[in-house]
């Protein structure tokens, strides 16, 4: 079973919720926690899993074999990302690493077989274990554009090595491509929102994504404030259950600042996260 924890807006408590859920589940069962928020992977600040293995995430990068190249310009024409330029006068071919998506078009289409590929490192994939928790993380190098590619890498690796029955995915914020990739395999999407018009507006966007993909959903309202009722009204209208409300309280903000999950902060919270998990389990079984 795959549970993806998502939020339209950043900073709503997505990682607090995903790590608290993982910690609560791990009391009874083996659980894999996957941090797909590759631009800002923060889960392990809370989980504190020792990393056992690391490997580079890479994309293929074209290199020119000048022995064979005739500077015909085909590679430049077929590149949709403007990542390769042929300078006929100076007999030079320039590849702009950061623009290249590693699609292979230049190599495949080169009539002279003058392009080969090397590995361009774009990030790090890490794996670790602590008790019942299996931890996987993708971390994109600073200055890289290729978020989706790093996520794809982690997902491919997971397919091979993840054998836990339960997987919790910490998705990137937003509603774009990387989020879709993080939700694609989910049996249940847990939406985390904060109790403000911003939180609500962005949550609606994320809700739209999950709904389009026909996902089962539940909402956790963080920093809940009395007085702002629109989040609950939205949930009611759309018939999505609100599974938990975390009150707006300086105490929790402080626990967060110190890197403690709510499940460790108090037994009461741990039990509430266990209840959320039982609910999700039932929903998925009934599907």
């Amino acid at each position: 079973m795959v549970i993806t924890v998502a939020s339209g807006k950043g900073g709503t408590g997505k990682t607090t919720v995903s790590t608290s859920l993982t910690v609560a589940i791990s009391r009874q069962k083996t659980v894999s926690h996957v941090d797909l928020d590759v631009e800002e992977p923060d889960s392990n600040i809370f989980l504190k899993v020792p990393i056992k293995r690391e490997e580079m995430i890479w994309l293929p990068l074209p290199v020119i074999d000048y022995e064979k190249c005739t500077f015909c310009g085909v590679c430049q024409r077929v590149c949709e990302y403007n990542a390769i330029f042929v300078f006929k006068n100076t007999k030079e071919v320039k590849v702009f690493d950061q623009l290249c998506r590693g699609c292979g078009a230049c190599k495949e289409m080169c009539p002279y077989d003058a392009i080969y590929e090397v590995q361009r490192y774009i990030g790090i994939f890490s794996y670790g274990e602590k008790g019942n928790i299996r931890f996987y993380e993708g971390r994109l190098n600073v200055g890289e554009y290729v978020t989706t590619d790093a996520i794809r890498w982690v997902k491919r690796r997971l397919k091979k090595i993840n054998d836990s029955e339960i997987t919790v995915i910490d998705a990137p914020p937003g509603t774009s491509c990387p989020v879709i990739h993080s939700m694609k395999d989910a049996d249940f999407v847990l939406l985390v929102t904060e109790d403000t018009p911003f939180g609500l507006f962005d949550m609606k966007l994320a809700y739209g994504v999950a709904k389009k993909m026909n996902k089962k959903m539940g909402i956790i309202i963080n920093k809940a404030l009395p007085g702002f009722t629109e989040t609950r009204e939205f949930a009611k209208k759309e018939n999505v259950p609100v599974l938990m409300e975390i009150p707006f309280d300086r105490k929790f903000a402080k626990a967060y600042a110190e890197g403690i999950t709510l499940s460790e902060y108090s037994d009461e919270f741990r039990e509430r996260f266990e209840e959320v998990f039982s609910y999700i389990e039932k929903e998925v079984e009934n599907a």
């Binding site: 631009e39 998506r101 200055g143 509603t175 990387p178 990739h181 600042a257």
Partner: protein, 293 residues
Amino acid sequence: MLELAVVSGKGGTGKTTLTASLAVLIEHKVLADADVDAPDLHLLLKPVKESENPFYGMKKARIIQEKCSSCDICRQVCRFDAIEVINGKYVVDEVACDGCKLCFRKCPDKAIVMEDSLSGHWYVSRTPYGTMVHGLLEVGEENSGKLVTIIRKQAMFLAQKEGVPYVLMDGPPGIGCPVNSTLTGLKYAIVITEPTQSGLMDLERLLDLMEHFGVFPFVVINKYDLAESKSEEIREYVVKRGGKVAGMLPFEKIVVEALSRGEPIVQYAPSSRVTVEIKRIWDYIENEIKRGA
């Protein structure tokens, strides 16, 4: 004319709250919301749309079933896992498709076409605080630096036309493609962070990126009193990196109240500690810019 962006590595650190307050404080400017993935500035500034424009991203592949002979070549050459076989039929996963055209070029049956996909919209609007350019991506579209670039260009064009000294941008969170498009070519950016381990880690990554682009950071530490020693650690870190800490904002419930009422804090609570500090921060930054920091 100067472009100024408010950015944050981590989401939810108070970026839009600060931008909206600056939008009230800076008298003459054009506003731009570069957070096209989850734009929020309009919730506070309540723009009235004057024009709506379509935005087309990368073309995506589509397979014409009648022509497809199921040779499997497209699936083999695609490096984005975007060709799926469903019930014996070859189809393109539009989300995964990156528009590289390799399948289109390699298909021996000429069964693949590349089609425009409407990826979003951008708007020019009026707000009580000046002209605003903003956009919204369709659900599930690629993080679009391209849309950010269009919004920036449009905002600069309007600022020149109106003869105002600033373009104030609300940037996207993260360090990916749209942030790159926001930072490139900027002289200064205001970075907002919070005193947490994730706040600091994300700040480090963002400052690396800004260094790469040659953008000078003015850092604001939000909710500094939640963890004062962490705030101090961040302050020292910023100074060590050659940036400047423009100020620190206290954790006040009234900020969230203003948010849930949908009003910029400097307007909602003009005498709150946060408002006073934001005013001081802007005076400081404007002075530093004038001195050519």
